[in-house]
Subunit: 409 residues, 2 copies
Amino acid sequence: MAKASWQGTNLPRVGGFNRAVVLDTIRRRGEISRVELAQRTGLTAQTMSNIVRALMADGLVTENGHAPSTGGKRRVLLKVVADAYSSVGLHLDPERITGVLLDLAGGVRLRSTRRLPDDAAPETVAAALARTLQQLVRRSGIDESRVLGVGLAVPGPLDSAHRQVLSPPNLARWGAVPLADIVAERAGLPVVMDNDATAAAIGERWAGGEHRSGSFVYVYWGSGVGVGVVLDDQVHRGVSNNAGEIGHLNSGGGRGCHCGRRGCLETHCSMRAIVADWRAAGGEPTGTAIAQSYEELCRRAADGDAVAVKVLRAAATRLGQALAAVVSVLDVDRVVLGGPALRHVSDLVRTQVSKVLSKQVWAPEVRPVQVSPALIGEDAGAVGAASLVLDHAYSPRLATLLGSGSDPS
Amino acid sequence: MAKASWQGTNLPRVGGFNRAVVLDTIRRRGEISRVELAQRTGLTAQTMSNIVRALMADGLVTENGHAPSTGGKRRVLLKVVADAYSSVGLHLDPERITGVLLDLAGGVRLRSTRRLPDDAAPETVAAALARTLQQLVRRSGIDESRVLGVGLAVPGPLDSAHRQVLSPPNLARWGAVPLADIVAERAGLPVVMDNDATAAAIGERWAGGEHRSGSFVYVYWGSGVGVGVVLDDQVHRGVSNNAGEIGHLNSGGGRGCHCGRRGCLETHCSMRAIVADWRAAGGEPTGTAIAQSYEELCRRAADGDAVAVKVLRAAATRLGQALAAVVSVLDVDRVVLGGPALRHVSDLVRTQVSKVLSKQVWAPEVRPVQVSPALIGEDAGAVGAASLVLDHAYSPRLATLLGSGSDPS
């Protein structure tokens, strides 16, 4: 029989949800007393105390000294046991692979990166991903049973019903590749996959604590560009897990895109397109690889080279125009800019995007839009991928509470 | 002390939420047995049975005969008591006011409409709204204590923190007007206000039962155009209650908009703009009022007039382009088209919007987008406004469950 669109909830589900809320609150605060924890979560002291006892028995939470005295009895502080569990994050950018090992508190314990050849075949990429993963686990000395899982961040769009990557930018000849399953088989560990922008947005939420609560859009600018959408503390993935896929929004201009359409945002904002624009404007990159040439452009822009600045500003303007639509449709007031394309030029891009948004978003006096740099630097994709696993295992999920909803593939 | 971004939940909140889930499920099914109700809501028979008893004691639910026998004991059917409560919906379009009186089952009991003079002043409009409301209640013969409240649907954008309407299209000289409070004061009833697209989307949800569950965007096309956003069965309002405000998305072309920017979608898709385009293409409307001229255009298009068809298709193309961005950012697969601008030309517009979406939205093979006509006709704004009140009082709300979140102004 079909379910109602709303399901009621019940005690076991409420218990699981409240447990996740308590763990999340401890993690976000770093250290917290039981009294403050009860106040912040809105739970009764008794409920909260039972949950904390269970979390301590499971080795996820520990007592960590006392808060400074405020006159009465000094309060015991709770904190998350950072090395209770780890997760591995792998990011395919797609010119390089970055891997990180994250502890339960969100700290990066190990990092590794390797370049990929241009136009690498899926099997080559999968083998490199699996090797990065295995080396990280080996170097860490952590027992594999303490690794919760592997997160894989890939350029969107995805066909996530089939766990497939679809023709990522710069790997256009791939077609549909079941990358998560290939890596899982090679590595012998469960793999969750999401697009890089969504993963990075989750990483920001995980790392950012109270600075990344509520609603915001996270712009991941790497080889291509995408947006991760967080609404009311929930990552919004959409019906096909492609929410925030802005790379193929029509941005005008009529340039042919690898997807077969014309005028897609990526024909102006991918690293490849920007480097081509730089060449067209007289720029002469010394290397041939796109990522190297792009970095050279950015260094020049940071040094004040007028042509380089103009080329980057033009790309940032197109991005700002697309973000004006995103901000208007979602009605969010915070935009976070992250990803490796911003290295050296974060301020330049942020200034330009802010300028475009203040002009193109309706009624800035009613809803001023704040544009901030990401908290996590260029490893946002990999840290986000590892956070996917932690988020999956430990974040409060409405789907849990309501006994419905879907999870990332 | 600041709350955590997530609050835990507790028994009284769970009780209120489950009660709303049960009532919502009965209403959506029309008639339902207790057994099916327990299956659909996922609640235990005991919990469900207690809730039904309380709903019957409050006069909201009643028993209504028996289901056909399936061999065993015939099951008693439950249904909502439609005339237990009513609500009034008022819609400012802004060339006319439409009012409806809705019963608890979502049935329209009474309807009333009055034209407004061009460029009406806020006080004139408020007086006409209050008069429409009072006449509806008087004609219905319903005791005022049985009227749950008044919903007001207005063209966006809103400054809902201050319960103000901001320069609606065709009433551009208004500036910021606290319309809800003015009407509440005149009418002596509480008034909730939302933009017309959000109200109409809620009306579709209320009326559409299982056909309007999950996620969809509702396009309200009247004097102007806006979108109501429903994600996972929750109306998404955004931080300033202006989510889905697409009227000022940049649509290209550089026409000056009443908001001060150029190229806004409304410079192509408002009734006023379309009528101007018709004149520019040689059309000669017989009347002078915009709404009349627009209707004349639509009648001609429906009769196959080539110029009229071309003008409307051009507007539908611009709308489709804006919707491509909405669909891509939100990752929804259903678009519902409604509102009075579609009278006579629903099929023409739907065909054109579908065509544009299938070309401009990335990867239709992964996420085909279905475009459907609205279930509620041209009274969508008023029915939606009345549904706001019912939704506010009776729909399952995550905010209730979590003890947080915000409501419409």
